[in-house]
């Protein structure tokens, strides 16, 4: 049974792929236009309108590909719809149709149904048996092709191809980076509240291809992806106390990072993948340490009797944000990646915890507890422009999508039958709140980097 993409598949998918395809005759974009991306959603305004888009059925070049062509379009549409930035025009409303991939569309037919953008695509089998998918994105008002790409992949990887297609459309029309071809690792929770079985699970960001990771039965917490998408850091109680482990997703090999007295927890990789920052508790006191993965040398970054935990690197690796109760209750602090003096950045009411730096570097997401309610919020790395995105009885642990646009976290309902669920929200607008479907209760999500 094939449950995930192997390295060789990755190489095949990334080696040959992203080829721009020719502009369809007669729809050349305006030469070197400084107004590149004439059609682009204003995704930063508070009152942005989702972009109306028509995704036409992808043309199967042989009968055996009709099914996969339809499946790919289904995944593309679901991604775009879930992003909250697009309004998909239903096929029933289409006036025009695309019967040949390489012809100029009748733009007026698409304008007539108020589609600002239109996507055409085709699927065929390459000479070596691989799946070949081409698509074009058209601006129906400017009457030009905005994007044209093709992907080649093992037929088993059709979902990844669909995510790449959706990413191409999304990135071109929003100006944001892509994020659909990514995964989420999280803690799957079963059993009663007082004795939860917690194990690691991994899935595509849309919930597909879910599998449970080996050797993580019992009690595991806080999984985190490596920057190369191939390893997971997490906490396990296997030794009798919480300790940081690293799991290689390709080989299934797992190892304990260091052999510390007390406990180690709250791990995250550095952006270059060369070190891990984490908390160690010794004699009840919790500080932040960094471990070089090559030498396994440990370096202490904070020296304080307070609880210093939840460290997260800035994307350039130069700084670390963490939480500390050194001032009384938990607040967010930023320090150099080498340790030393820390500057407090959170000053709103209540306590602040679980900071995570956006992959774009421009925001830090956090958990805030005020007035007996839990919130997920974002702020600038200097603490300005704080904004609470959501509120509930109990929610925590934000993680950013690879493009920094979406935040996922977990929310737990109250009472004996309370259970955690994964929630996603648009980090820029605080809208588009969605429950992420998982087979069981789920917590501690961590988003992977964009897959290569």
């Amino acid at each position: 049974m094939r449950s995930y993409v192997t390295v060789s598949d990755l190489l095949r998918l990334c080696g040959a792929v992203v080829l721009a395809i020719a502009v369809v005759a007669g729809s050349a974009p305006r030469a070197q236009s400084q107004d590149d991306g004439a059609l682009q959603i204003d995704v930063t305004g508070a009152q942005f309108e989702p972009l109306p888009i028509a995704i036409t059925p992808f043309i199967a070049q042989e009968a055996g590909l009709t099914q996969v062509a339809g499946d790919i379009v289904g995944v593309v549409k679901a991604n775009l719809e879930r992003s909250g930035l697009f309004r998909l025009i239903p096929e029933e409303a289409f006036i025009g149709q695309i019967s040949e991939f390489d012809t100029v569309p009748q733009y007026a037919d698409w304008r007539a149904i108020n589609a600002d953008a239109m996507v055409a695509g085709t699927v065929f089998r390459a000479g070596d048996g691989r799946l070949q998918v081409q698509f074009r994105v058209f601006d129906t008002n400017a009457e030009e092709q905005l994007e044209g790409l093709q992907f080649l992949a093992d037929p088993a990887d059709w979902r990844r191809v669909a995510h790449k297609v959706a990413d191409g459309i999304y990135a071109k029309l929003t100006g944001e980076g892509p994020y659909f071809d990514s995964r989420v690792v999280f803690v799957d929770e079963t059993g009663p509240k007082g004795d939860r079985r917690k194990r690691l699970a991994i899935m595509d960001q849309d919930g597909a291809n879910l599998r449970f990771l080996p050797g993580s039965d019992g009690l595991v917490l806080s999984p985190r992806f490596s920057p190369n998408d191939q390893s997971i850091l997490y906490i396990s109680y296997d030794t009798g106390a919480p300790q940081v482990f690293m799991l290689n997703l390709d080989t299934g090999q797992r190892e304990r990072l260091g052999n510390f007295p007390g406990m180690s927890f709250a791990p995250r990789f550095s952006p270059d993948g060369g070190s891990v920052v984490m908390s160690l508790s010794r004699e009840g006191n919790t500080d932040v340490y960094a471990m070089d993965l090559g030498s396994r040398q440990l370096r202490r970054l904070t020296q304080h009797p307070g609880i210093d935990t939840s460290p997260s690197y800035s994307p350039d690796g130069s700084q670390i944000v963490f939480e500390s109760d050194r001032g009384g209750k938990q607040q967010l602090y930023v320090m150099s990646a080498g340790g030393g003096g820390a500057t407090r950045i959170s000053f709103g009411s209540g306590s602040y915890s679980t900071p995570v730096w956006s992959p774009k570097g421009d925001r830090i997401a956090f958990t805030n507890v005020r007035g007996g309610r839990f919130h997920i919020g974002v702020m600038r790395p200097d603490g300005s422009e704080e904004r609470l995105l959501s509120a509930s009885f109990l929610e925590e642990g934000p993680t950013f999508s690879p493009n920094g646009r979406v935040v996922m976290f977990y929310r737990e309902s109250a009472g004996q039958n309370g259970r955690p669920q994964l929630i996603s929200i648009d980090a820029a607008t605080g809208t588009n709140v969605r429950q992420v479907a998982t087979p069981n209760a789920a917590s501690d999500p961590a988003w992977s980097p964009l897959r290569k």
Binding site: S222, T286, I307, S310, D325, S353, E412, G415
Partner: protein
């Protein structure tokens, strides 16, 4: 539940009073424990858990030991000193009203408070180990102040003694 807790603390204080003789071995405690007819024998886990009391409680975000916690722990120390073949894992726990990672650290603080107190009462360090469960192992499952107060606890889990 609160009444039961008070009863347990009372029993622990009684025990502390009657076994304060440093020469008193495990058998000496029979007199005290034996006063509850049909109760567990004093060298048993059941006695430790039910009569001495296996847990102490903390205020929100705190890890200091109040007087009733100290009384319970004094009883635990005397029991442990009277039963030298036993070892104990001290679990630190938190309620659900904090984040996972903070609660892991808070649980470590709480476990360490219990550990230090037992050491100060003469229990050998090599018989004790601490572990934090943060908010991962609640014993009261409600989402209300009473449940949370029961979950903010330090548990002394003894091994090496007959169960009953």
């Amino acid at each position: 539940m609160i009444l039961k807790k008070i009863a347990l603390i009372g029993a622990a204080l009684l025990l502390a009073a009657c076994s304060s003789d440093p020469e008193a071995g495990p058998d000496a405690g029979v007199t005290g424990g034996g006063s509850t007819a049909g109760g567990p024998a004093p060298n048993t886990l059941a006695y430790f858990n039910q009569v001495v009391g296996d847990r102490v409680f903390f205020d929100t975000d705190r890890h200091d030991l109040n007087s009733s916690a100290q009384a319970t722990l004094s009883g635990q120390a005397q029991w442990l000193n009277s039963n030298p073949g036993t070892t104990a894992v001290i679990e630190g726990h938190a309620d659900e009203r904090g984040t996972r990672q903070y609660n892991l650290a808070l649980g470590a603080r709480r476990a360490n408070s219990v550990y230090n107190y037992l050491i100060s009462q003469g229990v050998e360090a090599n018989r004790l180990r601490t572990v934090s469960y943060g908010k991962e192992r609640p014993i009261a499952l409600g989402s209300d102040p009473n449940s949370w107060s029961q979950n903010r606890r330090g548990m002394t889990v003894v091994t090496g003694a007959p169960s009953s």
